[in-house]
């Protein structure tokens, strides 16, 4: 893959990337 400078890099990953989970607002403390 390429880094942000466009250079070819080799990446090794210690672990698989975790799955992203989104949140929603349950409650908001009034001011």
């Amino acid at each position: 893959m390429q880094n942000t400078l466009g250079e070819e890099t080799r990446v090794s990953m210690l672990f698989a990337a975790p799955k992203i989970i989104e949140t929603s607002v349950f409650a908001r403390l009034p001011d």
Partner: protein, 275 residues
């Protein structure tokens, strides 16, 4: 808050989410000494406001409400009249540095962290255990900012968030209740560090990473499973599994003064108060 590090949000500081036996969420506001119930439609109801810095809250099986109060020590809250009274404010003659969070084991042992302003520059934070008979033991006195804590699934070890080490320690117990070789279970990186912890039925560990706007979920071997992203601010301070079936994770986010929720696939482990 006087004496606290810079960067603490103004206005309020939500922490200590915990569910009572009726399934109602409670939480604390550290810097204003307030304790709230939060209804299922998201309304805050003030239960107590007192001269203290409530940082963590847990329910005992017998109905008592225990507060880890940074300013005073371990306190008890009467939910009827809102009075907060001391439970343990010193060990022998020594007061605490500043207690942070607490957890009950299945046998009623109470564990709590004494964080104060410890860090890598002063790794003297402590972890205590209080037996049901009142016996108090200092298990550790060398933690860089001990914070949230929870036991593993079969309660053979304690996980402790060492915020300023940006890591989770694993504290194994021997048969006689003393501790074995303490190890580093998970090393995190980036801004802030681990704050509140919770465990699910599979032994997976949810870690609120304050200042990163993230709750991590690691499996029981310590491999990452989920990254739960805050839809609000970055001060994701603590977590609790709760209503309706414990597959919903509730997250205090103190920068925006909100409680977030995320849907997971495994229920949280039953707490001592509910088992």
């Amino acid at each position: 808050m006087a004496g606290q590090p810079l960067g603490t949000p103004a206005g309020s500081l939500l922490e200590g989410p915990s569910f009572d036996r009726e399934g109602t969420l409670w939480c604390v506001d550290i810097q204003n000494g307030r304790i709230f119930k939060v209804t299922r439609d998201g309304a805050f109801r003030l239960i107590a406001e007192y001269d203290g810095w409530p940082n963590g809250l847990k329910f005992h099986r017998d109905g008592r409400i225990f507060i880890a109060d940074y300013k005073n020590g371990i306190m008890l809250l009467d939910p009827v009249n809102g009075k907060v009274t001391p439970y343990l404010v010193r060990v022998n003659v020594e007061r605490f540095k500043g207690v942070n969070d607490l957890f009950f084991g299945a046998n009623g042992d109470l564990y709590f962290t004494d964080q104060g302003l410890t860090g890598l520059h002063d790794p003297t934070g402590r972890v205590f255990r209080v037996r049901p008979n009142g016996e108090v033991t200092c298990l550790l006195d060398n933690v860089p900012s001990p914070n949230g804590l929870v036991m593993n699934r079969d309660e053979t070890a304690l996980y402790v968030a060492a915020t300023r080490g940006n890591c989770i320690w694993q504290v194994p117990f021997l048969g006689n209740g003393s501790i074995g070789k303490v190890g580093l279970f998970i090393q995190l990186s980036g801004a802030g560090g681990p704050d509140g912890l919770a465990l699910d039925e599979q032994g997976r560990l949810a870690i609120a990473h304050v200042r990163l706007g993230t709750v991590w979920v690691f499996d029981r071997l310590g491999e990452p499973v989920y990254r739960i992203r805050s839809c609000m601010g970055t001060h994701t301070t603590n977590v609790a599994f709760g209503w309706p079936d414990r597959t919903t994770l509730y997250i205090t986010e103190s920068e925006s003064g909100t409680i977030l929720k995320a849907e997971l696939d495994v229920p949280g482990k039953l707490m001592y108060s509910h088992a």
